[in-house]
């Protein structure tokens, strides 16, 4: 099977995975079960375990990176391939099983009906309450919500969510330029600086099935510093280019990679 775009607005589900042999197969099977006929592409970030084999066994196609690039580099590789293959919509589902595939059709519907370039599957309301136990993450998310609100001009409930759908306009942008290290928050700023829109859809989040999150308590300070710096660099980068061009055009590239 080849992951080719079929007809107008076909959907590709991408699953970035690094050492997720325990979960990736179930994730792929669940996506295929909930969205019959959908193309699923696992982007293997040079795992040392059997992630590639498990993904292929489950029926996914695999984009295998030759060495470890980190989350942003892996996701961007998927965006690049999706753009080349002509897909109209791409939804990213994490390879650790935290995202519920039953929410994919709702994200796709929101992308189509709203015309927004990005739709985030967000923990909202009751769902956020269930995550209260993870205080560090909740605190970080709250901090970034406060930072991003004036920058984005509207509230964002879950800026760190990796359950994200994009349309072809955002795909073209991200294929050319995408933050490399911690992409979720910076990507929002990159979109906003180009006057692209984003929407949020309340979604179910589950505890990861196996393995451990790449964002540990010890890495949190580094995470916050990097992301804050990335946010402000993206703002400065865009404004600098706009001034040099001497126009208000929203075109251009930003972010790393």
């Amino acid at each position: 099977m080849t992951t080719r775009a079929r007809g107008p607005g076909p959907l590709l589900v991408i699953v970035p995975a690094y050492n997720e042999e325990g979960a990736v197969g179930a994730v792929v099977r669940e996506v295929k079960e909930q969205v019959p006929g959908v193309a699923v592409l696992v982007i293997d970030d040079c795992s040392q375990d059997a992630t590639v084999a498990k993904a292929r066994e489950a029926g996914a196609e695999v984009l295998a990176l030759p060495h470890h690039l980190g989350l942003g580099g892996a996701v961007q590789a998927g965006y690049k391939l999706a753009f080349e293959l002509g897909f109209g919509y791409v939804i990213r589902v994490d390879g650790d099983g935290q995202h519920d595939a039953r929410d994919i059709p709702r994200i796709l519907a929101k992308l189509k009906e709203s015309g927004a370039e990005m739709v985030i599957g967000a923990r909202m309301g009751r769902e956020r309450e269930q995550w209260r136990g993870r205080r560090l993450r909740a605190l970080g998310t709250y901090f970034f919500r406060m930072v991003l609100r004036p920058i984005l001009g509207k509230p964002v409930h879950d800026p760190t969510s990796g359950f994200v759908g994009v349309n072809r306009r955002a795909l073209a942008l991200f294929a050319a330029s995408f933050p490399l290290e911690y992409p979720e928050i910076e990507a929002l700023v990159v979109l906003q600086r180009r006057n692209f829109r984003f929407e949020e859809v309340p979604c179910q989040m589950r505890p990861r099935k196996t393995g451990r999150s790449s964002i540990t308590a010890l890495k949190s300070f580094s995470y916050i510093t990097h992301v804050l710096l990335g946010v402000f660099v993206n703002i400065l980068r865009y404004d600098g280019r706009r001034r040099r061009r001497g126009s208000g055009s929203s075109a251009g590239t930003g972010g790393g990679g």
Binding site: T2, R56, E61, V62, L63, A64, L65, P66, H67, L69, G73, Q76, A77, K80, L81, E84, L180, G256, G257
Partner: protein
């Protein structure tokens, strides 16, 4: 004071020799050795030309010459580090793009040959 300048000159001379040997053994590419050679030569010249160092010290309003040597050395090597940070950043971007391209080409190749494993 003289001892400090002699030590500084000796270190710069050692650096020059190390860079030259590394270039000769192809451990450092010629284009990247130029920055180190210029920096080491500049510091060596300053260490040997005491009147120039005194002039710079007075120009900067510094109380003593050792501080001038230290500050000038720091400034020169900060510029070197900055230049190499630029180079590393560019190489990192190129490396990511190259790895992504290799993966995508392998994907296309696998699709064409139909050798799913």
């Amino acid at each position: 004071m003289d001892r400090l300048l002699h030590v500084s000159a000796g270190v710069c001379l050692l650096l020059l020799v190390m860079v030259m040997v590394s270039v000769r053994r192809s451990h450092i590419r010629v284009e990247y050795s130029v920055t180190w050679l210029v920096a080491a030569a500049a510091m060596l010249a300053l260490s040997l030309a005491r009147p120039v160092l005194e002039y710079i010290r007075r120009l900067l309003g510094l109380p003593d010459t050792p501080l001038a040597v230290f500050l000038l050395g720091s400034a020169v090597f900060l510029v070197v580090f900055f230049r190499f940070t630029l180079i590393i950043s560019r190489l990192r971007d190129d490396n990511v793009a190259l790895a992504q391209r290799v993966a995508i080409l392998e994907y296309h190749l696998r699709s064409l040959t139909g050798h799913e494993s």
